[in-house]
């Protein structure tokens, strides 16, 4: 994925939306800014395929030495794929956050929430303020 073309949630998840079989599918991951801030990742908890998620609801968690951080879904929909390989290879999140480090794919049922996400430039401004 090209980070410049992704959408971003305030809670640091990135979203890539693609058309698959006439359906909108959102691939969701965690931004490199967030991964760097978390640092020293030790554990990740992911949902099962089939789970219904809502925009703003927690779908999993990622845990570092210092703290647990919930992962929030930026969209409404159903989880159709989970990158289970991540839980045993957390370094993938550091090495390739926009590629191999994707977290879940969601079949989007309500596209309304996509409009609330930020483009890269806006997101980077938010990060600059937080960092």
């Amino acid at each position: 994925m090209n980070p410049a073309e992704l959408l971003y949630a305030e809670s640091h998840e990135w979203v890539h939306v693609a058309e698959e079989d006439g359906q909108k599918v959102a691939t969701i991951g965690i931004s490199d800014f967030a991964i760097e801030q978390l640092n020293d990742l030790v554990y990740m908890d992911l949902p099962e395929v089939g789970k219904q998620v809502e925009a703003g609801s927690e779908f999993g968690e990622v845990e570092s030495v210092k703290a647990v951080s919930p992962l929030y879904s930026p969209v409404d929909g159903e989880v159709i794929a989970v990158n289970d390989a991540l839980t045993d290879n957390l370094e993938t999140l550091n090495e390739d956050p926009y590629g191999e480090g994707w977290v879940i794919k969601v079949k989007v049922t309500d596209e309304g929430h996509l409009a609330k996400l930020m483009d890269q430039a806006t997101y980077q401004k938010q990060c600059a303020e937080e960092g």
Partner: protein, 353 residues
């Protein structure tokens, strides 16, 4: 940076794991200036401190450091402290009590009324006039040795402290720490702090000394099985339940809380502080319940983190004493999911000597 007891403190400079490992393999520097430093001068200081502490201070030779607890009347822990008996170059002797940052205000207020019974004793809060730097790790003593021209550091034994100088500025050097490693804690005047910090960093540059934050301080002390006030210690916990029998000198002594502690010592303890090693990778955190077969809470995790040294999650918890035997399997409820853990002897990590 996070606010901590009135100070701005870093959780980490680079990476908690990296800072932790620097401390275990070479040495790490911690700015622990937030710790409270109370100085007691004058005739009767020893008697005052004897009255306040679970361990005897009178009779401590100059140069000795002792760990003890300040308890309330019911035996609850107000703070855990280090007391040093020191002598200035001009020959005047005093006691220095290092208290937890978050308890400094409470402890000074607790002690103040007792000063009336000891008219020659003065207590002065030196916290803001001084800074404190901990240098902890297997290389700390060798490397810091060259910083003190008037002190042979290898002769300063564990739990001993001395006043010396660093490039003609006064410094209290104490061979103590909170990481499970050998090392020093340095107390300097606030205006000298930056220079002393930089001198230690410079001396340790070839040995890759690292600055370490609160995050590593917590994982290091957890591996070393050391209690942290607000977690394993509080006014609701007595020192015996916390496993600090060694720091309670109950024989032929009277101090605040002694009656309550004698009563507690005469009976089996309902709960005990234990170490836990978790199966799996998910760490148990403070507040997670230890549950029985039907999910009823029977104990509580007070500190928990992934252990960088052991490569698995560890925790400290209070459990019913019948479950405190090492090897006992317990279940920890981590945000709604049960996780198997085993009781492990403390400390999790012991340095090689």
């Amino acid at each position: 940076m996070v606010p901590f007891a009135g100070y701005e403190m870093p959780i980490q400079y680079q990476s908690i794991v990296q800072e932790h490992q620097a401390c275990r393999t070479t040495a790490a520097l911690f700015d622990v200036s937030h710790m409270g430093r109370l100085r007691f001068d004058g005739e009767g200081s020893e008697q005052l401190l004897d009255h306040l502490l679970t361990r005897r201070v009178s009779g401590m030779d100059v140069g000795r450091v002792r760990y003890g607890l300040v308890c309330n009347e019911s035996g609850g822990v107000l703070d855990d402290v280090l007391v040093s008996h020191l002598e200035t170059p001009s020959g005047s002797r005093f006691h220095l009590m290092v208290v937890n940052a978050s308890n400094r205000d409470k402890i000074t207020k607790w002690i103040t009324p007792h000063l009336a019974d000891f008219p020659h004793v003065t207590m002065s809060d030196r916290t803001e006039l001084t800074a404190m730097i901990a240098v902890q790790g297997p290389r700390a003593i060798d490397v810091c040795g060259k910083l003190f021209s008037k002190l042979d550091l290898t002769k300063l034994r564990y739990y001993r402290a001395v006043i010396t100088e660093q490039f003609s500025k006064p410094v209290i050097v104490s061979r103590t720490g909170y990481t499970g490693e050998d090392g020093l804690e340095l107390i300097v005047r606030a205006e000298d702090a930056r220079r002393v910090w930089e001198n230690v960093m410079l001396a340790g540059r070839e040995e890759s000394f690292q600055a370490a934050g609160l995050g590593a301080r917590d994982t290091l002390r957890l591996e070393a099985g050391m209690p942290l006030y607000g977690h394993e210690l509080s006014e609701a916990i007595d020192p015996l339940t916390a496993g600090l029998q060694f720091a309670c000198d109950l024989e032929d002594r009277s101090f605040i809380g002694d009656q309550a502690l004698r009563q507690r010592a005469a009976q089996p303890l309902p709960k005990t502080r234990v170490g836990l090693e978790l199966a799996g990778k998910r760490p148990a955190r403070e507040g997670c319940a230890i549950v029985d077969a039907v999910g009823q809470a029977i104990g509580e995790v007070t500190s928990g983190a992934p252990s960088p040294t052991l490569g698995k999650p560890i925790a400290m918890a209070f459990v019913p004493t019948e479950l405190a035997e090492p090897g006992t399997e317990v279940t920890v409820d981590i945000r709604g999911r049960g996780q198997v853990a085993h009781v492990t002897p403390l400390p999790f990590y012991r340095r090689s000597r």
